[in-house]
Symmetry: none
Subunit: 162 residues, 2 copies
């Protein structure tokens, strides 16, 4: 999402909309004005006059924050799992499993539910799900995603931690 530059305090009105819509914004604070106070991580400000590189740095940070919040993997129409401009192909079973995990990204999906998604008429073996999870893990690792186990509850898809 693009960062909007706003003169402060001249364009205060405009600012209200931006805050409401969650648009990232950089306030250009005049030499005499006092700095705004907002805790919103999508809002920043800089004192004028300012160097170009400083403005650009703050804009870049806001952009990164904005797109970070939206960083959710998705499965496209071709069955590819896409995340942050990379992708991997999935096998049919993996697509169902990944689909369930992506739908509730960051939250736990029960083993039962996943098994029903992959095999609506009943899972072949109890172990089959484990094996496919293992394969899915290796498949999505290059995207920087990982499947974490929550014992006796299910699995959870998230951005890989270091």
């Amino acid at each position: 999402m693009d960062v909007v530059l706003v003169r402060w305090p001249e364009e205060t009105l405009h600012l209200g909309e931006l805050r409401g819509s969650g648009t990232p914004r950089l306030l250009l604070v005049g030499p005499e004005a006092s700095p705004p106070d907002s805790v919103d991580p999508l809002e920043d400000w800089i004192r004028l006059p300012a160097e170009d590189r400083d403005v650009r740095a703050r804009v870049a940070t806001l952009e990164a924050r904005a797109s970070n919040g939206l960083a959710t993997p998705e499965i496209d129409d071709d069955g590819l799992l896409r995340f942050r401009d990379r992708w991997v192909s999935l096998s049919p079973v993996e697509r169902e499993l990944a689909g369930a995990l992506v739908e509730r990204f960051g939250a736990v999906v029960g083993r039962e539910l996943m098994a029903r998604k992959a095999w609506p008429s009943g899972a072949p073996t109890r172990n089959a799900l484990d094996v496919h999870i293992l394969r899915l893990r290796r498949r999505i690792a290059p995207l920087g995603l990982e499947v974490r186990t929550v014992r006796s509850r299910g699995y959870l898809l998230q951005v890989a931690t270091i």
Copy 2:
């Protein structure tokens, strides 16, 4: 939590610790240095020389964000203990104990009460609770939480002190 001022890029080493521990920090960027790039809302920077009121404004924002995001830990529907965008899974017994502590975050919870929560029909051994508290302590340490003992009263959950 107090905001730490760090000269950039001279005190880069120090910065590593601060980032790791989630301490809010303001980087004082020398006249020639290029600004840092971090998306962490608990990190900000300002170009030197800077006006006092500008520094104060940025410090205030960081403080507000820190105390805002602090809030309280919570146990979600999946039984995960979440705190500051991190989480750990809990075993059933730990979930009961943590639940009692989270409910009264920052206040003492009696041993009796906790034992009843974990084992409604009576604790198995005298020190079963102790052992589970030990395990819970180690489990939640990565979240920056700690269980403090209040002798002959009970236990208290709080943000870990350094």
